[in-house]
Structure formats: C-alpha cells, structure tokens
Amino acid sequence: MIRRIAVSSGVGDARARHYLASLKALFPEAPLTGVATVAAYTVDAELSLKELESAAERLTNPITEQYSLDVPSPDAFSYCIEIGYLPGVTDNVGHTAKETIEDAIHRAFGADEGVYSSTFLFLEGSLNAEHAAALAKELHNPLIERATIFSADDAKKGFPLSAPKVMLRAQTLHADEVDLDVPDDELVRIGKEGIKGKDGTRRGPLALSLDAMKTIRGHFKKLDRKPTDVELESLAGTWSEHCKHTIFADPLDEIEDGIYRCYIKGATEKIRKQKGKKDFCVSVFKDNSGAIRLDDKYLITHKVETHNAPSALDPFGGAITAIVGVNRDCLGFGLGAKPIANVYGFCVADPHDESAFYRDSAKTQELLASRRILEGVVAGVNAGGNQSGIPTPLGFVAVDQSFRGKPLVFGGTIGLIPRKVRGRKLYEKKARPGDYIVMLGGRVGLDGIHGATFSSEALATGSPATAVQIGDPITQKKLSDALVREARDKGLYTSITDNGAGGLSGSVGEMAREAGGCRVDLEHVPLKYEGLSPWQIWLSESQERMTLAVPKKNWAAFKKIMDRYGVEATRIGEFTKTGKCVVRYQGNTVMDLSLDFLHEGRPVLMQKSVKQEARSKEAAQMPNVDVRQAILDVLTRPSVGSTAFIAGQYDHEVQGMSVTKPLQGRGRVNAESGVLKPLPNSKRGVVLSQGYCPWYSTLDTYAMAAAAIDTAVRNAVCAGASRDYLAILDNFCWSSSEKPERLWELKQAAKACYDIATRYGTPFISGKDSMHNDFRGYDESGKAVHIAALPTLLVSAIGVIPDVARAMTLDFKEVGDALYIVGETNDEMGASEYFELLGVRGGQVPVVDASKHAKAYDAVAKAIEKGFIASAIGVGRGGLAAALAKSAVGGQLGFNADLSNIPGKARRPDATLFSESQGRILLSVRKGKEKELEKLLKGVPFARVGEVGKGACAITTGKEKFEYSVSALTESYRSFFKQW
C-alpha cells in the first residue's frame, strides 16, 4: 500500500526563502510572492497506521517541524510543483528515510517495498500556467527528475500517490547470441549503435570500430561459435578508449610505442633513473593512483579523473560521481589508501551565456543552460566531498565558450597509506587463485550502463540517459571506514579495485589478470531491482562498489566486519588459474573468453597525424585600449576573478590537516596551491597545485602543455615546495580526436610533457585521458553544430616539504616590504586573458624555457625555505596586473610598483601588464632580507620594483602610471560571481 508522510517547517524555512529569492531573480516577470516547501516521503510498504505514525515522528524534528499523512496545502497559492526522481535514479534521501522507518518498526522492508522522496513547492502569487511551466523547467532536470504541476484546483482533489518504482519490461533474462556474420555496414552499425534487441531497438553504443568487430568475428570463428551479448559488451568495455586509452597506447606516426609509453612513461623512467637514490616514486602508472614517499612510514597517493560527458547531461550527478569515483581510485590503491583531500576543476562556458543547443534536430532534447551546468557541478562536488568527510583545499574554474557542449569536470583525490602493516607491503596486491571474488558496497541497477563506451563517443542524440549515475557518499563512507579502519590492516584480502567504467566486467576482468583467471556467478550479484539481463549486471556502473579478492579462510572474519559497519558484502565467484574469464548466469555459461584475447586481442591502430603549422604569430590588429580600465576588466573575468562562493561551501578543514587555505589573506583570494599536514605528530607537509592553459591551444598545443606544467610547478614552488620533491599528474581532455590534425596537436602536447617534465625532473606518477569532448547537435535555428572543447591538459602537482611552518601564501603581509619580480616578461599576449577580453586573435603564445625557469624556481624555493619571503604568487592568467592585484587584494594592502625596467622584451605597457610569459613569480620580501634574497637570485633575471603600501595601488610602466584603491581592485576581483 502506498502512503505518504509530509514534513514541513514550523519555524521559518530558509530553503523556501532561498527558492523565492533565486526564482524571483531568474523570472522577474512572474508575479511570485512566496514559496512554501514540504518534504514528502512516499512509502510503498505494508505498514499499519500506528507504524506509519511512529515513522513520521522519527522523520520530524518536534521542535521545528510538523508532519501529516498527506501533503498540507497552504492557504493561498496558485500552483504547486512536485519534484521527485525518475524510477531507478539514486534517491539518497529516500534511502535514509527507509532505514529510519525500518529502525522504527523493527523490521526490514521487503524487496519490492521502498521509500521515495520528493519536494512540494507551493508558489504564491497570481501565476499563470506558463509561469508554472517555466519555473518547473528551472527546478528539475528531466533526465533524472520528474516535475508535476498542480494548479490550486488540482490540489483540492488531493495529490495523487504513486511510487516511482522500477518496472522493467520483460527483458531477456538470459544471454543472447549475436550474429556477426553480417555485411560490413551492419557490423559498423552494431559497433556504433549497439546490439539490436528483439524489438529492433539498439542497446546503445559499443564504440567498436569495423576493424575491432572483424577481429572479434575472427576470434569466434576460431572458437566455432557465436559471441554472446555479454561477451561482446565485455570486449567493447575492455577495449574502449576509456579503459585502454587506445589513442595514447597505439602507434602514432614514427612513435611505435605510442605517445604514452614514449613521452609520459618515458619521462618518468628517465627522471627516476637520474634521481637515483633520491627517487621518491613508489608506485607509478600501474595502480588506481600514483604513490610517492611521504616519510619512512607513509606514502601519499594522487589521482585525477574527469567526468565530462555525464556532467553535460546531469551536472550534479556527474560531478558528485566524479568525486566519489576518484575517491575509489584512492581506496583502490594498493590495499586501500585513506582519502585525505579532494581537488576539483571546472572548465565551463560563460554562465551568463544564454545560447540554447539541442541534442536532436527536432529540438526536443535541450542542453542544460551553461549557468545550470556550473551550478550543478559546484553542488555535486559540494555533496561528494563534504558528505564523505574529505577536505577540498584546492580547485579552479576556467571559462571558454568551447566548453558549452561538454564541460570538463576534473576531480582528484590525495590518499594516505602506511607502507607496511605487520611486515606486509600495503602498496602491492595480488589476487590469488582460489580467493573469493567479493563485491562490496552498493547494489546493481541500470545506472551508468555503457558509461565506458559512452564517454568514448561524442555527446549526441541517443546518448543513453542510463549513462547518468548519482553517487551516494554515505554508502561509500561506510565502505571506506570498514576497509581503511579495520579490514585492510587485518590482512583479510589480497587485492582490491574499484568498480568504475565497465563495472564488474572492468574490475573482475582486471583482477583476473593478477590471479590468472576468474569464474563469476552473476545471479549472486545483489540487485537494486529485478529484471536485469546478465549483460546489464556485468556492465552496470552503479556506484559505491569495490571488488576484492578474499581468501576463503578469511571470508567469515571479513564478512563480520562488513556487517558491523552496515556494508553489504557478497561472494560472486572465485579467482582461478584457468587463463579464462568465465561468467555464468543461473548455471548457464554466458561468457567464456581467454584473458589474453579480452585484454590483448584488440587490433592495434596505426594512427597517422597531419602536421599543423603553429598558428602563433603577431596579432594583426590591436584596438586602442584604455589600459587603466583593462586592469579592472581583467579582474572581472571569471577565469581570473574570485570564485570564493565555491571555496566557501567546500569544507577544507575536516580531518584537521589544513595548513594553507583555499582562500588566502584578509581579502580571501583564491589560492593557487594548498598545503596539508597529513600526520598529527609530524611536521611534514604535502603541497598541491594545478596548472592549466586551455586557451593556448587555439595557437599551439605544445605551448599549452608546456605552460600547464610550468604553472603547476611554479604554483607549488610559491607554496614552499621544491622541484626535487615534486611529482605531477597529467589529464588530457581532447576533442575531435579522430582527426589527423588533432592527433598532430596531441603529439605536440605529449612531446611538451616529456621535454618540460624531464627538464624540471618532475616525474609523472599517474594520468588519465578523455579524448572525445565533442558535442554534435543543433542550435536554436536547427542548424547542425559541432562544439569541440579546447584541447586541455590539466597538470596536478604534488610535493612534500619537511616543515609546514615554512609554507607560503600569496597575500601581501606588511607595509614597506620590498616587491620583486623574478623571471622575464616578454611580449607574449597570444590567447591571453587580455586578448580574450579585447577579442584579439593571434599573437605570440607564451613559450616555456624550462632550464631558465628551473633556476628561478630553485632560487625562490630556497628563499622561502630560508624565511626571506613574506608572500609569493605565480604570474599566470591575467599577467602581472592580475598577480599584483591578487596579492594586494589578499593582503588588503596597496603597493607601488614601477615595471619600467623589468627583465624581458615586453615594452608596451599592456604587454608588460598582461603578457602571460611563464616562469615568473611576484614576491614580497621580509624586511632586512633583500640582500640575502638578491644573493640567491644571482644568475636569475629579476627586478626590485617597489614596495607594499597602505591602501593605494600604483603601477608605473614607462610614462604611464595607473592608480587604484585596494577596495576598487577588490570590487572588480569579486564582481563576476558576486550574486552566486
């Protein structure tokens, strides 16, 4: 029987007031005067009235709330909108309500019983139906949620009760054979659109090329049978660009080893050899995260992932899953590292942009507005990080119109793990034949099916809605506690990996290589609801799951721990040494593939690129510019100005490790680095930083990648790190990767990685790529459009410092401190924020001279270590103008800077101020330490340019002098997201 519990606030509801304020701002023409909200729990279970009431009491805070067993309507309203989830979408609130009720009635719900949450918003004011429809559109995302609109008259009849239960149509509950003896064009269609179901519809993309399809056909010819759908889906997932990184792995032109082995791994191997005994790498590229030494007893790990395609469809779900997903890359490192920090990055279109795009030509599937994408991803990382109890000390927002189709959503996690417990190395793992295959955590539904192959395709019509998963941080937190606090150190399992892309097929398939084979019985896998086909169970990307190898003798002890922590653990099979991956469903074999073919059978693609001339050259036309105003304007740009509204809603202090903050100085300027103290009884610190310059790709991808590394290294140095204890991670996000021209650009960027990293001696320890950040759809006039995200490399740096008391921040500290600029300022404004502001194309892109910069960075690192420096900031986006302003706003102090004679070739005032030449750092110096600093800077280009002052900020370049108050700079710096 379906009943409803409705809970409303009795003491003034800040959330309702917030709805009112934000809806009024968005819909000024709608006569909205008030909003009231009611939280509803639709209970689909056999409960007595008494039980229902006792449940309702537990869902109500008696001091501030009241409940009723139907939704109470307020006195006056014109429309009511109910927002709830679509069937099958993760409903975390409903889940908690169910547990609460079960606890109240002392019994568990049956398999087909459940609780579903929804929110009723009562809208006051004389709205019409159109207003109501527009508000409903704003309030929900139709891919995951349903909105029902009731007029006041409708409401009088009462609100209908229905439970959004998953009702799967009669699926084939067995594996189907797939006939590959078909003409090439049908093979291409199967690869592109998926296996044909009985009703003629396609199951969704396999992203397998004709070549790959033919290889598979050939393999099964030899086996003298047809492949099952399970096998074909499994091969598609395992061979996907997402999992095998085919573009980075396969030969490209003369690089037979592929660019990953040649340039990325190649750089690390060379650096480690050069470092010899000083090598701090412990586990690189082979595990779910990379790990370096923190001290004799502990390692720190780092991994950064992207979740771009899902974030385009459901930004909240996409971003929360990015975070909880990469947290599992931490839990899945070695035998399980504890996540101690998250980092984020959002590459989005201007949130004020109002252009509309559609996935289909009929214009029925609209892309979410760019504002809602940013709001959604910000909220997703908020929920993912905060609810997991993992601090978020660092992140960024980068804006470009090319991210309108697919945003780039980066999520990274730093982990802490002891090297050894009871003589056992925790950073190594190996499943053994005979170990149970254990699935841990959440249950399996249709979530994220085809996630691996989907993200290997451009976002277009037919993109599967089931590609959207919503993470459940609490289920994962329970799992994390159980593993890291207890099971790991008791040595109860031999291997662990996360269920990410490809679900069980990915995790079990990967671990089977450690043992030498596996056998899985799919009917043991716990499901969210009945009716899943075997291939769906095997491929589902339902979240919060890890796969473990548990020796039989440890099973009872392991299971007991998981029970105590409220974590579901299920044996779903056994690792073997048969060399095969065998999957059964209710006794029938649905997959029987050799591991060799599964993992190594993929046809290698000989990739060819076409040389592109770098587009960097002198800008043709420079308009007349009011430089004084331009300084303020650059600060108002969303890629330069404050995003304090994000940092301020992400907990950065949980776990008690915070040393430098995401907002620095009195003026709370966004940090470009973060310092943590992971161990309570040690002074050692971990320095984090990020580098990204996607805009430079419009001119030269080599320069883009080089600048990304340079920026990450520079920002880490400014926080107190040094090059000798600094590692980096690469995240490539490319677009149009099938085009030979883009492959050339990719090759250049990868080569830059090798060149710059080896010169800095900063090894890559982990990386990931996402190669299809394309949107193919239609604009408002119905014209076909292709939006390709700018080729983007995010470089994440992680370093270790001996004493956090030496950590450095970017804000000016005291009046009278001398200002120094280290490095050369050249006329390098191509693709700069200044040119973007002016709409100028072309120009010289910043060029990295790593050998020169290395000297400067080493001198600054030494100066910080010796205590000569009061503030340090890397000069990056927005040039010296932005760096000076940020340090001033940070300290709420002024300055007097004469830039007339700074080193470098920039001569024009705007080049001096806005050039984004790499390798530069702006320092303020502790009084009396100037001479010692200058001694350290011997051989490095630098200039003493002035000093920190009180409230006035004065910049002189040649004959020009610009003056501002620090409050004017502060206002500009904070203006873009002021209302957020």
């Binding site: 908690t96 506690d481 809603q649 009195r666």
Partner: protein, 269 residues
C-alpha cells in the same frame, strides 16, 4: 613548560581518562578528535555505534563520550535526525546511565545536531539563513559554566555546516539563559574582523554556537575545536608568523581549540 603542561605530565602517572568517540554512518571527524584528546593525555577509542549497541558496557570504562562531526546518513531527512533516532532508540538508557556518573559528553557539529535530536541537549539546529554549506572561521565568547570551557574567555575556531542555526522556542531560550546553559556565542572578534565576515555565520538565535546540559557536563557546539589544535591551522597564520618573526618572537605551536580537550582531561585528574 607552562602550568597545564606540568599538570599533563603529573597526570600521566595516574590513570589517563578514557574517551569513546562514536563513528559510523557518515560521521567523519573521529581521527582528528582522537588525536586531539591523545595529545593532551587521554586514551581514546573510536567505536562504531553498532559495536556500542552490541556492547553498551563499553561505556562503563569511559569517562568521556564524544559524538563528533560528519554527515551521518548524509544529513538526509534533516541533519542529525537519523543518527539521533538510532542513538536514542538503542543507547538512550545506557547514555543516561553513563551521565549519572561524573562523566563528560561532547557533541561537535553533526554530533551537536545528533545530541539535540536524541534529546540530550535542548533546542534544534536548522538550515543556515543562507541555506548553503559554509566553511569558515568564527569567534566565540564563553558564556555558560562548563568543565569543557574552564579558563577560556574567547576562542576562534572553524565551522563547516549547512544546518547550524540554533533554534529553540522563546521559553526554552529563557530557561537556558537562567540556567547558564548557553555555553558559547558568536561574537565580532579577531577572525571575523580580519576577514570582514559577519560574526554570526548562520543566523543562530541569540548568536548561540553551543549549549550545555547536565550542569555543563554535556556540551554541544557547532564549531570544530579539533580543527584548531595547531597554530598552522589558523586561517591567517602566515600573517601572524610575520608579526612574530619580525618582533623576534618564536611563533606558537598550539591552536586555540586544544584547551577545550585539555580541560576535559584535567577534569578527571
């Protein structure tokens, strides 16, 4: 060596007070809370609520019970509600018995929400006036009497919450005032002034940041003292460092939140 350090040393010869810190279902500040207690001379165990339900006698050996910060049950259905229900239903009697002895109990942030929800502390915590999760530092004035707060007049510590607005009906507020049970209030102090932030971060009635019951032995507060135990956790410490160094002073090691834990330990020695 200051007086309190001497006392810590002396007390180490006696039995150390024992702390139980509850965990499970999304609580997440147990490790740093444990480290804070241990650094001032207590022994501490992190105990999953299910383990305590299975063996409530564990409380017999404890002097201090802590429900720390976190996101129990994701704050779904209301912060602290689900965990508070569970605590009350399965351990309510045992905790009441525990409090009959001369013991201390502490609820930090989500733990405060849980203890109000379970009825061990008066009032309720509701959505911030700006209904968004907020992470920043605040300044507190000690108002009421509590062993936890002895010798502290003001302290600056961080908050991180979305539902931290203290609410109680007028008559309850009056009683709290009368019984000296308003423990901590947000004030316009060093950190708020430094960053130009509003002193009351969430709209709490009467600027209440923490309240007590059981004559001050049970304290609940929204701010996080366990995140303010080192000098280098302060939000403006790199500026303070300059001031210390330039005036020829060594800068301190300790943060303002540690005294609260030290007070609790010294209550038993």
């Amino acid at each position: 060596m200051n007086r309190s350090k001497k006392q810590e040393k002396r007390s180490s010869k006696r039995a150390k007070p024992h702390v139980i810190i509850l965990s499970g279902y999304g609580l997440n500040t147990e490790d740093e809370t444990k480290a804070a207690f241990e650094s001032v001379g207590a022994t501490a165990d992190i105990v999953h609520i299910n383990d305590l339900i299975a063996r409530p006698t564990l409380l017999n050996k404890a002097n201090i019970l802590v429900v720390g910060g976190g996101f129990a049950y994701g704050d779904h259905t209301g912060a602290g509600k689900a965990y508070g229900n569970r605590l009350k239903a399965h351990l309510g009697k045992d905790i009441s018995k525990f409090l009959e002895r001369d013991t201390l109990m502490l609820g930090i942030c989500n733990g405060f929400q849980i203890l109000t929800s379970a009825g061990f502390l008066p009032g309720a915590l509701i959505a911030n006036n700006v209904p968004r999760y907020s992470a920043r530092w605040v300044d507190l004035k000690v108002k009421g009497e509590s062993p936890w707060l002895r010798g502290i007049n003001t302290m600056s510590v961080p908050i991180a919450h979305g539902e931290g607005k203290y609410y109680a009906p007028p008559e309850v507020l009056e009683t709290l005032e009368k019984e000296n049970a308003i423990a901590l209030q947000y004030i316009d102090g060093e950190v708020s002034q430094h960053f130009g932030l509003p002193p009351n971060p969430n709209g709490s009635l009467k600027n209440i940041a923490g309240v007590t019951s059981h004559g001050g032995r049970v304290l609940g507060l929204m701010p996080h003292p366990e995140r303010a135990v080192f000098f280098t956790q302060l939000p403006h410490w790199t500026l303070l460092r300059e001031e210390y160094v330039r005036s020829g002073k060594k800068f301190p090691q300790e943060g303002p939140g540690l005294q609260l834990f030290r007070n609790a330990v010294q209550y038993f020695v």
